[in-house]
């Protein structure tokens, strides 16, 4: 495979990714509602655009595969083919393969090994749905000497073909009774891979309109295609007697350069250009000619043809006047063509123009792939305005410092002025922070969009009927948050499909609709994104879960007994737990819900679950809107300060020492009639116990893993917004801490990783 060295490739890759994604989405919509026009058009357009653009690069297998898919879609769009699940599977496989190739192009600027074979295989399977039944042997047509019709192909068409590629020309004269046999000659011709040009001509001069028999085929098809003659022969294997196929000799392709003609005739390249333009203007003038004065754009066509003919005349160095009407223009074209023909054009096949240089190698140096962020213009504009304000505010400070220097302001006045400026700068800083965060925001749709495909494929493999409903895809969250969501969500959705939603028969027996419903919902809460995965499957059985936990010895029996049904459902988050007796290949893979929980917790969020036996399960993920800025509660423990993400904090309470109960080895207290276990931060961190004689304990009530906990701290300090940096370097693996941030006085604040600490 050749390495693609085009400065346009980096632009093509994201465009192609978008198109493939769009095509995949449309295909799934279409599968649900095969009659829907909009997804069909969107799908077709995506493949069409992809074909057109991929043609810019030398990635033949890619372009040919897109072309085959487009042909199938074209047939479906025209109603010649009903899209069946088998077609959808094939098209999805095609999209997958194309996506794989795009990634290969992104990484190595070339298609992977075997792309040629894979393309041929998939294309053949796509075309098999079009070509009719059977795979008869290809008609072994002997290559005849170049026939006369080959020499009569229009030169402007040949000139426009890219040289260095094999082209085949064909002349197809369908039997005049072909329509009665259900043949579709035009449809057949359009199936020719790599079709580069197609023209129709009457087999015989047209009779008077009243004589024409519309039930007879009276056309001949001339075509040029970038394809192997064998492939084309195969396509026409049912009508071998009606088609002539010949490979175009290489010297016939590409622009012709010739020695300057004799006399005052223009140089050959010029004359070819002029000839092609004149021929095109004739077609323009003759197009729609039958409609006469009723044609609203007839005058426009004439005006357009006049300017093009004028341009051609100027290019040839002539000075003929250009008439106003169509008849006069057609006459002029005939005159000019005769003039071009006068000195016989010399047929000299030379190398194509030397001007065919690659675009200058200014930016051939390619760095590693950069991560990009697509941003709405409005968001950048908002940021730009704020920068403008900041510049003004900065200038005001300069003015203020001059006033302070020359002593024209009293201390009191100066203080007031500084305070005013400070207020202004801090407002701008806040707004800039908001604006920059907005730039990093992206809709959760970006993660959700992979699920229609995943649910479809998984449900098919499990033989289940599942309808996926997505709500709130437009909800936005920070890029890192949205990305952190992807893996846990996939796991949970697989879980629902695998263990939650029952097979159709079981559902019917339980009096439920045959189709299970899986809902993915996103909404924005206060500073948080809430994602819910809701299924109407068999739900979790708290008794079974309790038994299983006991069998596996994951928890002491008395604690298990004390659990409410709701709490028992959350047992599936315990490390080492797996509900299915046998791990299926879907949700198994050695990853449990405990990994989901810890992944979400790492992103500063939490997961909870509720389920009713026989009715379904709801898993709720709460994530901070942004991981960049976190609201922290600072707490003191002895001399030291620690941060706790506000997302985990439920409330702060002061508990009288007398109210703290000892239960076995543990401590607890009663908060609004509920027993809340108590842990001491100093213990958890192995710090010396504080010798406090205070009457009350400062208790931070937090929610960790769906459970409420009281955390005894030395003292509560302020709530702050901070940019949390992950732990790096030698302390990267330090358990119990989620990251660090800088305090106003320059000290480093350690952020506690509570789920890890209390484990």
């Amino acid at each position: 495979m050749t390495v693609i060295d085009s400065p346009l490739l980096p632009q093509f890759i994201p465009e192609a990714r978008d198109l493939l994604e769009q095509a995949g989405r449309s295909l799934l919509l279409l599968e649900r509602d095969p009659a829907a026009a909009e997804p069909m058009n969107a799908l077709f357009r995506a493949m069409h655009t992809l074909k057109g653009t991929s043609g810019l690069f030398e990635i033949g297998p890619f372009t040919r595969l897109v072309h085959a898919a487009e042909d199938l879609l074209c047939a479906a769009q025209a109603g010649r083919l009903d899209l069946a699940p088998a077609h959808a599977d094939l098209l999805l496989a095609t999209l997958d393969r194309l996506a794989e190739w795009i990634e290969s192009l992104a990484e190595a600027s070339l298609l992977p090994d075997g792309a040629e074979a894979a393309s041929a295989d998939l294309s053949a399977r796509l075309r098999a749905h079009l070509g009719g039944a059977g795979q008869g042997a290809a008609a072994a047509a002997a290559t005849a000497p170049p026939p006369a019709w080959l020499a009569a192909l229009p030169p402007d068409v040949l000139a426009a073909l890219p040289p260095g590629q094999g082209f085949v020309a064909l002349r197809y004269t369908p039997d005049e009774h072909c329509f009665f046999r259900g043949e579709d000659p035009l449809g057949l011709v359009r199936l020719v891979p790599g079709l580069a040009w197609l023209a129709l001509e009457p087999c015989a001069p047209w009779p008077a309109a009243s004589e024409i028999d519309p039930y007879r085929s009276q056309l001949r098809y001339l075509a040029i295609a970038a394809a192997e003659p064998g492939v084309v022969e195969d396509l026409f294997r049912y009508v071998p007697d009606q088609v002539e196929i010949a490979a175009l000799p290489p010297e016939a392709i590409g622009p012709r350069m010739a020695a300057p003609g004799a006399f005052a005739a223009p140089a050959d390249e010029v004359s070819e250009t002029v000839r092609a333009l004149l021929a095109a203007q004739r077609r323009l003038l003759e197009a729609g000619g039958g409609e006469g004065a009723a044609d609203p754009i007839a005058a426009g066509r004439i005006a357009a043809a006049r300017s093009a003919i004028g341009a051609a005349i100027a290019h040839a160095g002539w000075s003929d006047p250009v008439p106003q009407d169509a008849a006069g223009l057609l006459g002029l074209i005939a005159t000019l063509e005769a003039r071009l023909d006068a000195p016989a054009p010399l047929q000299a096949a030379e190398a194509p123009e030397t001007a065919a240089q690659r675009p200058a190698g200014a930016d051939t140096a390619r760095g590693g792939p950069a991560t990009t962020l697509r941003v709405e213009q409005a968001k950048i504009d908002a940021l730009m305005n704020l920068i403008g304000e900041l510049v003004v505010a900065k200038n005001a400070l300069a003015w203020l410092s001059r006033r302070a220097e020359d002593g024209s302001l009293g201390v009191r006045e100066l203080a007031r002025e500084i305070k005013d400026r400070q207020a202004l700068v801090s407002r701008i800083a806040e707004e800039m922070q908001t604006a920059v965060m907005a730039v990093r925001m992206m809709p959760v749709e970006n993660v959700f969009q992979r699920f229609p495909r995943l649910v479809r494929d998984t449900a098919r493999r499990l033989d289940k009927r599942v309808e996926l409903l997505i709500e709130g895809g437009e909800t936005e969250a920070d890029k890192t948050v949205v990305e952190a969501l992807a893996d846990p969500l996939i796991h949970m959705v697989r879980n629902s499909l695998d263990h939650g939603i029952e097979p159709p028969a079981e559902r019917l027996a339980a009096g439920k609709p045959e189709h299970g419903t899986l809902r993915l919902e996103a909404r924005q809460g206060n500073d948080q994104v809430v994602i819910r995965v809701v299924d109407d499957g068999r739900g979790l059985d708290p008794e079974k879960l309790r038994r299983r936990v006991l069998e596996k010895g994951l928890m002491e029996p008395e604690r298990v007994e004390a659990l409410t049904d709701q709490e028992a459902c959350e047992l599936i988050f315990l490390p080492g737990f797996s509900t299915a007796a046998t791990i299926s290949d879907l949700s198994g893979r050695g990853v449990g819900m405990d990994v989901v929980r810890s992944t979400i917790a790492k992103a500063g969020g939490s997961v909870s679950l509720s389920s009713r036996k026989g009715e379904g399960t709801v898993v709720e993920i709460t994530l901070p809107l942004s991981m960049a800025v976190t609201r922290l509660m600072t707490v003191a423990c002895g001399e030291r300060l620690f941060g706790v993400p506000m997302g985990l904090v439920i409330e702060t309470v002061r508990v009288p020492r007398a109210a703290v109960r000892r239960i076995g080895q543990r401590e607890a207290f009663v908060l609004r009639d509920r027993v809340v276990p108590l842990l001491r931060l100093a213990h958890l961190l192995d710090l010396p116990e504080e010798d406090s004689r205070a009457e009350e304990e400062a208790v931070l009530v937090v929610r960790v893993g769906g459970e409420r906990l009281g955390l005894v701290v030395g003292a509560f300090r302020e709530v702050m917004e901070a940019i949390v940096k992950p732990l790096e370097g030698v302390i990267a693996g330090l358990p119990g801490f989620a990251g660090t941030t800088l305090l106003g006085d320059g000290r480093v604040l350690l952020i506690l990783d509570l789920p890890e600490l209390v484990r």
Partner: protein, 132 residues
Amino acid sequence: MTATTPLALIVDDAATIRSFHRDTLEKAGMRVEEAMNGLEALERALAAPPNLFLVDVNMPQMDGLSFLRAARAEPALAAIPAIIVTSERAAGDVEGSFAAGANLFLSKPVRPEVLARFASVLAGVPLHGASA
């Protein structure tokens, strides 16, 4: 480049194709503007009539042929030469393009030197930089 440098309007929904055409035409000595569909092209053309249209066929919102018909019906734009550059290849598409008022029909992918040559002639770029 001066304001008298011919202006071409590229109408295509695929950004990579627009870049390719832009490179080609700029190297041929033209100024270039871009539009992503027929509707946008019509707006741009009416605001500043170009010397040449380079138009794709299959585009969202307003396709290339509808755009051409609209341009040909509009006295200010009717005489501006137009090249259809498309990956549609059926005979019907060629006829349809001329009926809509195209001056030339080229198939994608078009070779840069072919496009440059036809575009320069139709837009009236002075040959070899020789100014009249």
